[in-house]
């Protein structure tokens, strides 16, 4: 598959995800809560995680309806973490995806509740009534997502991040932080997609390796872009982590070594796919390229 085949696929996949978010994130939740939730997740973001879910599901020829639910659930967890992360007691950011952040628009209390309700909604979407998704798969997806979002994953990484402000970290500690904070959910996206099909233990390990590599690569590239691009390009305040005394791959390694690290991780991701017996790993391979080559 070449890029020409990838882009129509990605466009179609993104349209499906947007339409599902539009349908499943409730406009009518009481007292403005639904509006704040929708503001926090609709019409924005690169949707990298949903694309990973759907590409992994296709790679294992899995259940597309279940994967769409997984894609939306993962994006809701990601979006809620941004809503909370932007609040004054955390990063105190006013701009996200080129728009005022949720707490700037709706107030801090509503932003906190919207984030909380978005996390719950992720698990609601994974557990539809009836037999739209096999119950054992519902349980598996809930388990993968909860572990990636929780203390051992994203929330744990954020706690390390909080504690690291103003400290010098070596690369190993920085990687540990980001493997949890960003990597866990990106890796879970791949594995949730894979769980929607039948996959051997060998391929599961290969996909876990792929997910770990692109998970870290994503953050390395984020740090590079944050130090080299303008806020307008990124749609969020650039250079904020470094300015706040937070260690980044660029402050720890320098920008050239950080670029080399990103390319090495891309190679690791490709090698993991090459080890697998997956029939259709091409979209996952292209997604690794997109993650490393992106410019915003």
């Amino acid at each position: 598959m070449n890029d020409d085949a990838f882009d129509p696929w990605a466009r179609r996949a993104l349209a499906e995800v947007e339409s599902a978010l539009e349908r499943w994130v409730p406009a009518d939740a009481p007292a403005g809560l639904g509006e704040a939730m929708r503001y926090g997740v609709l019409d924005g973001g690169k949707r990298v995680r949903p694309l990973l879910v759907l590409a992994a599901c296709e790679a294992v020829d899995g259940d597309a309806a279940a994967a769409l639910r997984a894609a939306v659930a993962v994006e809701l967890i990601h979006a809620y973490s941004l809503v909370h992360d932007d609040m004054p007691c955390m990063d105190d950011d006013v701009l996200r995806r080129g728009k005022p952040t949720v707490h700037v628009r709706y107030g801090q209390a509503q932003a906190m509740l919207a984030g909380d309700a978005m996390q719950a909604l992720a698990f609601e979407i994974l557990t539809p009534d009836g037999d739209a998704v096999a119950p054992a798969l519902q349980a598996r997806l809930c388990g993968l997502l909860a572990r990636a979002a929780g203390h051992a994953g994203m929330a744990g990484g954020q706690a390390i991040d909080l504690a690291s402000t103003g400290k010098r970290l070596d690369e190993a500690t920085l990687s540990d932080m980001h493997q949890r904070k960003t990597g866990a959910l990106l890796q879970a996206s791949v594995l949730m997609g894979a769980a929607c099909g039948a996959v051997s233990a060998h391929d599961w390990r290969a996909l876990a390796g792929y997910g770990a590599a692109i998970g870290l690569a994503f953050q390395v590239v984020d740090d590079i872009l944050d130090s080299t691009q303008a806020s307008e390009t990124l749609g969020k305040t650039a250079g904020k982590d470094a300015d706040a005394g937070k260690p980044t791959y660029v402050t720890v390694l320098g920008v050239d070594a950080a670029r080399r690290r990103a390319h090495a991780l891309r190679a690791q991701a490709h090698a993991a796919l090459a080890r697998s017996t997956l029939a259709q790993p091409a979209r996952l391979a292209l997604l690794a390229d997109r993650i490393v080559d992106r410019e915003s």
Copy 2:
């Protein structure tokens, strides 16, 4: 069953729940996150929701190991909501269960993360690896809990609560708010316990009716205690809602009518159990009495 038989059961059940919380809420989550999570949920609270889960499971002769997980998960959702609710952008409370609140002790950022991680942990605990809990039951419990915690349940009720400050509400609107804010999770506790066994549609409806009645009764009694008891007895700041211009059952109905309402709801709960064909509804009946007769 009389009170003498109930108390040893409740003591044993509570000890089991405390020990499970102690085991499952991780002390070693990174950068102090585990400590903040444990502070937010261990050694405190009346554990009404876990008792409801376990009593409902016994009433249907259900899977006790699954019910223990459900009991802990429900309590984690309740505890996380208190951690977030106490924060300065919400109720700004400094005292909870007789101790400084989590944000006072660990800072606002850590309190927000701890609450977020506690919500995720609830779903981790419901989805153990292996076959400790049947996968279909895992999915059912996740679905019930997510819906009770989310926009249509607890988080939605909190949004109505936020919007209601300084407003006059009629009893119907006040009931709607509390059915979501407090009632949904109390009712879900009963239904999650019942889901751990085989239960007919008739008995499910009876248990849902029981859960709705005690869910609302709990809040009516909370409002009465808040207006009549001292902070020391309650372990939290008394009279705060009324002082903040938030409508309560006491400000809307007056204390005598609120008491009559609580007793009517207890009678509804008992009637729902009497309609059921449950073999052992006695502990649920006694829990309804305890909820209405409690003094803190």
